[in-house]
Symmetry: C2
Amino acid sequence: MHSGNLAHRAATVIAFLSLVMTSSPSSADDQTIALAKQGSFFVAGRVVQGKGVYDPAKDTGNTNEGNTFWADQMYVLYQVPANPRTYPLVLVHGGGGTGRVWETTPDGREGYQTLFLRRGFAVYIVDFPRRGRAGFPSYNGPFGQVDGAAIVPNKTNRAGLQYAWSRWRLGPKYPDVFPVQQFPMKGLDQFMQHLVPTVSDDPEVISGALVALLERIGPAIVVTHSQSGLFGWLAGARSANVKGIISYEPGFVFPQGEMPAPIPLYKGTQAAGTPVTVAEFANLTKIPLQVVYGDNIPKSPIPDLVADGRRAQQVTSRLFVQALNDKGGNASVQLLPDAGLYGNSHFMFSDLNNVAVADQMSEFLRAKGLDAR
Amino acid sequence: MHSGNLAHRAATVIAFLSLVMTSSPSSADDQTIALAKQGSFFVAGRVVQGKGVYDPAKDTGNTNEGNTFWADQMYVLYQVPANPRTYPLVLVHGGGGTGRVWETTPDGREGYQTLFLRRGFAVYIVDFPRRGRAGFPSYNGPFGQVDGAAIVPNKTNRAGLQYAWSRWRLGPKYPDVFPVQQFPMKGLDQFMQHLVPTVSDDPEVISGALVALLERIGPAIVVTHSQSGLFGWLAGARSANVKGIISYEPGFVFPQGEMPAPIPLYKGTQAAGTPVTVAEFANLTKIPLQVVYGDNIPKSPIPDLVADGRRAQQVTSRLFVQALNDKGGNASVQLLPDAGLYGNSHFMFSDLNNVAVADQMSEFLRAKGLDAR
């Protein structure tokens, strides 16, 4: 073979390789990802036993009689790129959704799962116990019952379009939009279709499953959103395998006896957070934490109560970070408008500018030394 | 640069590339997949409207009042490798499970999703309407109701361990095992944890969603399992985009007026299948179809009624294939033991020998010209 041809082939092939192996902070759909492995598994959970003895000569279909079932397991999907960074990301969805929220934006662009896989991170994506592919505790017969006993109450919750509009800042009030906003409105139906019923969420069950996941996979960075903010703080307070937390518009925890006064709302007040032990709170001072808020959050009390609750939550974020840092913590609040990113909704990681929002997270991980290989 | 070095670099890099780009029919966990794109979306579904007007100045939480929700959408996850084959695979889970069943075997090995991605197929994996990440039709309040009206009845179904044992041939009867069997028993808990409640499955809703998916993605090969066998035949009968069907231990369809007599069981009889129109059945004669059965299915009636039902289903498979081929069809039954594969359960695609079972499917696709690029 002529060496000139070889040199040409080597150059071509190396150019291709640099494309395949890229870990550039910006991504594009036309780049190929070198995927080393992927799959899914379940962690945590408990057994539910139906009374009696199962008789396969009597029954021709599903029955509770003498049958053993599971409850409260958590579903975990994972993908690992070639040459991954040291710490994987655990992406934890918020209220009303499943891990699907990280996969694809409502308008079909890449979500954090693929964006950060491209950036060299292994990703673990969960569906909470009682939600999505984790299933929910219901068996043969009326919802949530076995042998007449309620495993969970006969009640679900779900976000509708008009509630979501205010609560998650799709606009100021259905169907109006903000002057500047990043929510991908052309994917509105897909966004609403990704929501699932909530079946009696239990913070101890969910955070316990996260701790079990971290026990299994080892040190990791936890990324939470909204409702799961609490579960991430509880996991960080209870597992030394949490090496950092990025939390998008979460609720908060405070040490027992040091809970701030409730935050005044337009009507009534909002609790500052959930109490944890002093020792648990101290564990959260040992790792880098970042709380992130989007845009279009009211600056002062307004009559829209669900939007006003978000304002109160942002006020509380300052108290949370202060409480941590007063005890030697490494916590900060990032308002995306302060970084020049305007118009972000409550789902900023899947907004039109989600690559820029991801860049903010990459910068935090780099600054805190959490992105090493 | 010295040409000898370049030659060496080219050889090394080309060896690496052949690893990255492999589409060998056998796979190993240590090979890297060149993934071009991935994501998820929803198809089909309908809107459910709560009465009244939503007032964000009154409500502080989720409510049905004046809110708009979705029902019966289907969740679809997809992955596309570099240089994919012409027809993607649509992998359709069966009763009691979700698309998770294709991801990973109960004992943690690669499932069909990754095995066939490695073999160069784009894969589409669904969660049925009312199951898994598709959510189920329940909103704020009692299960399945909006404004006191039942969207679905207050009833779920779920397979327990002892029922599953007989029905899916984890062994002859809980907790006994067969002399030769391939079910990955060390993953038994993971297997049971992947099962979710069934919420009033509706064949028209599910097969309609499959047809909507095929309308969106174009020509594809449909792979079904057990319960979804019916939905796959209905999709093939109603969408010209179905180019072939592989079905693992399904139920069957027959033309109206040509339904075979019910199959005698140890106790009673089992219907041969579900009627479709003569024109629909004729559409199924136009594409290659393969029905696959595992091992340890009874040869004659036995008192275990759920196992006996499977025997009757296998008897029916011969009638189905005969009915299709009598009308010019291209259908066959593959018993895995006839191919030298012994001991397979009802979940043969995630059994210990699932790579060999996948090889059988690859061979069918090759023989029918369905694996071209």
